[in-house]
């Protein structure tokens, strides 16, 4: 039997040369006369080890990483020896059994339990790993039963707003309508986040299953995945897997011979951050400018093309599949307070060991950054952490003991958002980061609300004046006043939360603006 080797095909592994590693393995094995079979699996999410190559042995799946083409020859000679297990241990890139790597074994993987194990496009592999068993259960339940199960799980929207998913679904179920829609928000634009991408690239059938269950629950027969155009690999994989799911009878007309239909289509965004906001996303799906809508009406009542619509994030819909499969009580047992289940933490930026870390809510930011991240990539001290994307606050060390819990973060005027953590070392200029927050708002504002559209431009100018020490005291008053106006006078989080990174930078890192005596002349 040929030796089973796994080389990931997710964006990060590819960006680090996985394709070249795979071809070098094939060529090298041919030269040695070694019989190998390469599976292009998804990623485990341990990105600092990518490309992470795995080999099936008698004792389990062992890993080598990060592998580049220069290491291929020596790894193949290990694999070509009589005692692979013993020889492997001597190799500098040997990682041992992959599932035993602490970074992975210390996680509580529910949504990402299948990530990186098999070829994500292989529908049989998905089925072998309990795939579609949530759907099978859902097919035996009424819509109300499915919604009740979701309510009982305590699942809250993972896109950032953390609204209880079951209540949203209940509203759509209760709203009469011939045509309803399920929309998946896959416009993952926050810097420092990649969990949606990883799920779509490493376990796409789970998303397809979750959306189909949502369709059954609320009575919708059409779904759209609104995917950002910055994710070409996910685009390819989603289209392929949707096609395969239709062929296998899990999607399209007459799902699993139930007499119910669920059609699914991927729609590409076009490079607009604001389209991650759900009403802007709906406008964009309708073929319009991504202008934010006023609420009410809620999308659950008047959503896509004016019809009742569930809009959920990729991770929310992914979690649905595992909640139906394992039961809502299991899911609910993870977490703290009103934050139930697990959070897909994404550790990014200037960090030694970045990646996807799925953990029950309640662990502190410091535990994640210290235990998993193990310091900065540059080796310098950490100075600031931005949590929750470009609209999230910059947190100084005094706040790193905050537990990952929606309410605990809200209490310190910060947010968990979509779970992205960006680490900055001590070379960061926090005034420049505050300026960038305003600049980003200038570039990405949809333009509907004046405080967001104009306020952000004025914000850049005012920060420039503060840094240049032009009438600093008065400009500081002006900046706070401007932040108030943006927070209170914008329809959505773009204008409403851009002040969060700006104000936190000002509050905790004022010396970078030239304010404290340390840098003042």
């Amino acid at each position: 039997m040929s030796l089973q080797i796994f080389v990931p095909q997710d964006t990060t592994a590819l960006a680090l040369g996985a394709e070249k590693v795979a071809s070098a393995l094939i060529q090298g094995a041919q030269k040695l006369g070694l019989d190998i079979e390469i599976t292009r699996n998804g990623s485990r999410g341990m990105f600092w080890l990518e490309p992470l190559m795995e080999v099936e042995t008698e004792t389990g799946r062992i890993g080598f990483g990060p592998v580049n083409t220069a290491n291929v020859e020596s790894i193949l000679s290990v694999l070509n020896s009589d005692s692979v297990e013993t020889k492997a241990m001597e190799h500098p890139l040997y990682l041992g059994e992959v599932s035993d790597i602490e970074y992975l074994s210390k996680q509580q993987r529910l949504t990402f339990k299948r990530s990186g194990i098999a070829d994500p496009t292989c529908i049989e592999s998905y089925q072998h790993q309990e795939g579609f068993s949530g759907l099978a259960k859902a097919l035996t339940m009424t819509g109300q039963d499915i919604v009740d199960e979701l309510k009982n799980s305590g699942l809250r929207g993972r896109g950032g707003a953390a609204f209880p998913a079951g209540i949203k679904w209940q509203t759509v179920l209760d709203t009469p309508g011939e045509q309803k829609y399920i929309v998946c928000n896959a416009d993952e634009g926050d810097s420092g986040t990649f969990a949606d991408r990883l799920l779509m690239e490493s376990d796409p059938y789970q998303l397809i299953e979750g959306m189909t269950i949502a369709g059954l629950a609320v009575g919708a027969n059409q779904g759209y995945i609104y995917l950002r155009s910055e994710y070409p690999v996910a685009h390819k994989i989603l289209n392929l897997t949707i096609e395969r799911a239709i062929k296998a009878g899990f999607l399209g007309a007459n799902v699993c011979d139930s007499g119910k239909d669920f059609f699914l289509e991927v729609r590409l965004g076009a490079g607009a951050y604001i389209c991650g906001e759900e009403t802007s996303l709906l406008e964009s799906l309708e073929g319009k400018r991504g202008m934010v809508r006023a609420k009410p009406p809620l999308p659950a009542i008047e959503g896509l093309f004016g019809k009742p619509t569930v809009v959920n994030n990729v991770l929310t819909l992914g979690a649905v599949a595992s909640i139906l499969e394992q039961g809502s009580d299991t899911y609910k047992n993870f977490g703290m307070g009103r934050s139930r289940g697990t959070l897909a933490v994404q550790l990014a930026g200037n960090v030694k060991r970045g990646g996807l870390i799925e953990l029950a809510f309640g662990v502190t930011l410091r535990e994640v950054v210290d235990n998993f991240g193990q310091g900065t990539f540059s080796g310098r001290p950490i100075r600031a952490i931005q949590m929750g994307g470009p609209l999230g606050a910059f947190l100084p060390e005094s706040q790193w003991d905050t537990p990952l819990d929606y309410e605990a973060f809200a209490a310190i005027k910060a947010m968990i958002g979509h779970g992205g953590i960006v680490v900055f070392d001590d070379t960061v200029d926090m005034a420049a980061q505050a300026r960038f927050a305003m600049e980003f708002c200038v570039i990405e504002s949809c333009g509907k609300c004046t405080p967001c559209r104009i306020g952000s431009t004025r914000g850049v100018e005012v920060i420039d004046r503060i840094v240049a020490n032009e009438d600093r005291d008065n400009n500081l008053i002006l900046l706070h006043d401007l932040c108030d106006t943006m927070e209170l006078g914008s329809l959505c989080a773009m204008g409403g939360m851009t002040p969060f990174p700006v104000r936190s930078a000002l509050t905790y890192f004022e010396e970078d603006f030239g304010i404290s005596s340390r840098r003042d002349h």
Partner: protein, 163 residues
Amino acid sequence: MLDINSNVDQLIEQYKTLPGGLLPLLHAVKEAVGYVPESAVAPIAKGLNLSRAEVHGVISFYHDFNTHPVGRHTVQICRAEACQSMGSRDIEAHAKQSLGIDYGETTTDGLVTLEPVYCLGNCACSPSVRINDDIHARVDRSRFDELMEELSHASPDAFGVNS
């Protein structure tokens, strides 16, 4: 020009009945022509029963829809926070200086158009650069130069998803 117009007309036929079809149509036009030409606005408006202002409004709203021809390769540098924390501001400056162009411009030999991008979802291995449909991780100055060197030797068709 004739070619472009007949191409666009064909695509309009294909997409005009698709619900919310304007964005998919514009992506298809961009794919076929390389950009969204001004001459496409009127026929698209007519085909989709929209005003020209509406079509123009959509094209100008989204960063993806260039209205002018671009270089043979599109190089995007991530400007978002995770990449900033790993030195992307330096890569931006280096790219602009070494290519001799600013964002939104094309090198005089028509090889490269430089664009900013806000997150490629590769934030654990920053800084990231996208070249056509390939994303590259941990790009520093010398890696950027290597990538540009490869572009100058490659045929335009040689670049798919991480080929």
